[in-house]
């Protein structure tokens, strides 16, 4: 699980090259906004990041599902992790939501909460791997990834 989380973190941080030909395929991208839901013992998925209000929709969905599971006699704990970016998020101040403003914080929290909800202990302070890899932290560097060959 930890390895999978680190792999996901590496992709989100822009540390993984994609495409068949590096010389001709260098996508310009960066993580603008994101939502992740951590839950146990039942799963909760995020709302599709297609609509403008998908951050609020994800939070509403998580609450509704926790209630539905409760009706079936199962108490589900959950936490919604949100990278707000420039999007509106009216429910981001709630207690069941952890909202961050920087992509690097989102990735770091993603790994921590992922380990916590997967049943493992949260990573130790300053542990290697929970942080984005060196060179991926700055917005400028993530934009083009040029020079990191």
């Amino acid at each position: 699980m930890h390895a999978a989380l680190l792999a996901l973190a590496a992709v989100l941080s822009g540390d993984v090259r994609t495409g068949g030909h590096w010389s001709s395929y260098r996508p310009l991208w960066r993580l603008e906004s994101a939502a992740a839901v951590f839950s146990g013992p039942m799963p909760i998925s995020a709302a599709p990041a297609v609509d403008e209000d998908y951050l609020d929709e994800t939070i509403k969905l998580a609450r509704a599902k926790a209630e539905a599971y409760k009706d079936a006699g199962i108490d589900v704990g959950y936490r919604v992790l949100v990278l707000r970016g420039s999007r509106q998020c009216q429910l981001c101040g709630s207690g069941d939501v952890k909202a961050v403003d920087a992509a690097s914080d989102f990735v770091k929290r993603l790994v921590e909460l992922g380990r916590e909800y997967a049943g493992g202990s949260p990573p130790a302070e300053g542990r290697q791997g929970a942080e984005p890899q060196e060179g991926a932290g700055g917005e400028e560097q993530r934009m083009g990834r040029g020079g990191r060959r």
Binding site: V50, K65, A68
Partner: protein, 278 residues
């Protein structure tokens, strides 16, 4: 009988392989019923695990694999419906690097270069589309084995449906937005014209004349246990009526139930479902 209605949102879409396709892998333009029975079985497995009863994802017997929970759930499902409530599906083929382990010939298994290959992989794109699948389930039907058994009731089915996170492969992520369980016996023949204007789900075809854009197709019968094993043999099939666009066969939208004049349509929870017995 319980009609379990599940509203879901596609993240990007889905893919569903036609039977026995391997090297060339297009996609069906609508997800087959086995996809929904499998997804619901996985939801039930989550529910059983949350109650402290372990359920295997698959089991090996006689040198072959099968999915025990889907197999027993399949026997409890009488009918499956699916419709797009909002948006449409556009099928396409992308070049994708895939693991092709199941299709390697025995004499080539030791060759690592055979394990991955670039294939034409069909995908049915439906970003942001809203869909509904509904299953007609026998109430009280027992699913599972040993200690991990559950008699299907409305509460268990609703919780299991909420636990559905994907359709088909792991990449087919969906968000279940709403779930409702209704008694099929309480559904009445539709009289409200508004219900007939809502997109109509695909349905088991009882025979007779089928107006365009509806056509018939064959799906694997989810009640046939061979479907849930890795035996690559032709199992039983069911004939379904599905919509097909007249102007582009790879683009699918669901027409309203008013396009079907010679079948009985019943209303459940404000939506219309074709009852193929009439």
């Amino acid at each position: 009988m319980i009609l379990l209605s599940v509203r879901l949102l596609f993240h990007w879409g889905f893919w569903a392989r036609p039977l026995f396709m391997s090297a060339r892998q297009p996609t069906m333009t609508v997800p087959p019923p086995t996809v929904f029975v499998g997804a619901l079985a996985r939801g039930l497995a989550e529910l059983l695990r949350a109650r402290g009863r372990g359920v295997p994802e698959y089991r090996r017997a006689g040198g072959r694999y099968y999915v025990p929970l889907a197999q027993s759930l399949g026997r409890c499902v009488e009918r499956v419906y699916f419709r797009l409530v909002r948006g449409g599906v556009s099928a396409a083929v992308d070049k994708t690097r895939v693991f092709q382990g199941p299709y390697i010939r025995l004499e080539n298994l030791s060759d690592p270069s055979q394990r991955f290959a670039v294939r034409d992989l069909g995908k049915a794109y439906a970003p942001g589309a809203e869909a509904e699948f509904a299953v007609l389930v026998r109430e009280g039907c027992e699913v599972g084995e040993g200690d991990a058994r559950i008699a299907l009731d409305a509460a268990a089915l609703v919780a299991a449906a909420h636990a559905v996170t994907r359709l088909g492969p792991a990449e087919g992520v969906v968000a279940v937005a709403d779930v409702a369980a209704m008694r099929w016996e309480d559904c009445v023949e539709v009289r409200d014209v508004k219900v007939l204007d809502v997109p109509c789900p695909y349905f088991p075809w009882g025979g007779g004349e089928l107006p365009p854009p509806w056509r018939t197709t064959q799906f694997l019968d989810w009640r046939d246990e061979r479907v849930w094993s890795d035996q690559r043999v032709q199992g039983d099939v069911v004939v379904y009526a599905v919509p097909e666009s007249e102007w582009a066969p790879l683009r699918v939208e669901f027409p309203p139930c008013s396009t079907l004049s010679k079948v009985k349509i019943v209303e459940c929870g404000g939506l219309g479902y074709v009852d193929p017995r009439v």
